[in-house]
């Protein structure tokens, strides 16, 4: 796909992403809101695929789908509007949000049309996946390693803060119980 056709398809995908994004705040059901958000992300992933970025596009599809599948569980669990008995709104401070949104949109649009874009120099590489890999694993290796460890530490710390049961609940005050006292047994004989 090249030229005008590509532009039209990309425009349609962009419109789909925005419309699905709006739907997130329109629908009442948390399941529908979550999967509208997923539709929005999938449209973005498809646009990346069309721009010859297969790795990044598939990564968006993969990560966002799994993320939304997990998120929907928590959305339904914590934010559900059970049978319309507890109507809830997904928007807060509507006027301030509208004002901020309009100002940012105007500023960004003005930027897009007034910036003196440079002419493209050089051509796209044949394999963008290799380029992404070199960018991540080459000059930015240290940053990626640090960020990865920080993310992992955040996840572990979050779990440790959130879990109501610690090792003393499982193994007793002296940590010497032969079998941990778990509400649900695991699959291993221990």
């Amino acid at each position: 796909m090249t030229g005008p056709v590509l532009l039209v398809v990309l425009g349609a995908l962009g419109a789909l992403a925005v419309c699905a994004g709006v739907l997130v705040f329109v629908v009442d059901s948390m399941a529908r809101a979550t999967f509208s958000l997923l539709a929005s992300f999938l449209a973005v992933g498809a646009s990346l695929l069309l721009l010859d970025l297969p790795y990044l596009g598939l990564l968006v599809v993969l990560m966002m789908t799994v993320e939304m599948a997990i998120m929907v569980v928590f959305m339904v669990m914590l934010m559900m509007n059970p049978g319309g008995l507890m109507p809830m709104s997904m928007v807060h401070n509507t006027r301030g949000a509208v004002a901020a949104g309009v100002v940012v949109l105007a500023a960004l649009s003005a930027g897009i049309w007034t910036v003196d874009w440079p002419e493209r120099s050089g051509a796209a590489p044949p394999d963008t996946t290799v380029q992404v890999g070199e960018a991540v694993m080459g000059p930015h290796m240290l940053v990626m390693i640090v960020v990865g460890v920080v993310l992992l530490a955040t996840m572990i710390a979050g779990l440790a803060l959130a879990t109501p049961r610690g090792r003393y609940d499982r193994l007793g005050p002296d940590l010497d119980r032969p079998r941990p006292d778990d509400p649900v047994d695991g699959g291993l004989p221990r």
Partner: protein
């Protein structure tokens, strides 16, 4: 990557399948599916990473090309092979059938009927078939083999893997999703990481056959 993204879409598809009918049995099945998915996703990603490391590329054609001449990846990465075949978990089939179990009156399938049910069942069978074909391409050398032309070899290997999966799957008992999660995170995940590390060392030392 395509395989992994498509398999991730199954998460959303199966959950919506369970949510949409507004039925408790189907919803419980959907939650069971998510629990199995959480257990299975990371070992699968490490298995696919191992294949990518072994071939030096994520492209399936490059993976097949890297195995020509008998250096089939199943020899150097057996753990990844088995983990990929456990993609049966993503079709709620065999030992991983709890999301569609008879104890839930059919689980995610409890309420579906007619053309919709046919589509779902076709999709499940198709995914199992695609997984077997992927296993044949990534671990058994694709069309690599003597005498016969490559497509025939590929078909033979795919059918052999299908037969193996069906035979073994029929003989294993149903696994409870919570137990699967425990075993997957404490046993299978470390195994796949060790597998990836072994293959990485083999590649760096030039030990890949």
């Amino acid at each position: 990557m395509w395989f992994n993204a498509a398999e991730a879409l199954l998460w959303a598809a199966m959950w919506m399948l369970g949510w949409a009918p507004n039925s408790p049995y189907a919803l419980v099945g959907a939650y069971r599916f998510l629990a199995q998915g959480l257990a299975y996703e990371l070992p699968l990603m490490f298995a696919l990473t191992t294949v990518g490391v072994g071939a030096g590329s994520l492209r399936s054609t490059d993976v097949v090309a890297a195995q020509t001449g008998g250096g089939w990846f199943v020899l150097t990465m057996p753990v990844a092979f088995v983990v990929l075949l456990a993609a049966a978990a993503f079709t709620a089939w065999g030992p991983f059938a709890a999301p569609a179990g008879t104890d839930l009156a059919g689980g995610v399938l409890a309420e579906s009927s007619g053309v919709g049910r046919l589509l779902v069942q076709t999709g499940r069978c198709a995914f199992l078939g695609v997984t077997c074909a992927a296993a044949a391409a990534w671990f058994l050398g694709g069309g690599d083999g003597p005498l016969l032309p490559a497509p025939v070899w590929f078909a033979v290997k795919t059918l052999a893997v299908v037969a193996l999966v069906v035979l073994v799957g029929r003989r294993l008992p149903l696994l409870r999703p919570d137990r699967v999660a425990d075993v997957a995170w404490t046993v299978v995940l470390p195994l796949t990481i060790v597998q990836a590390a072994v293959v990485a060392v083999l590649v760096l030392t030039g030990g890949m056959p």
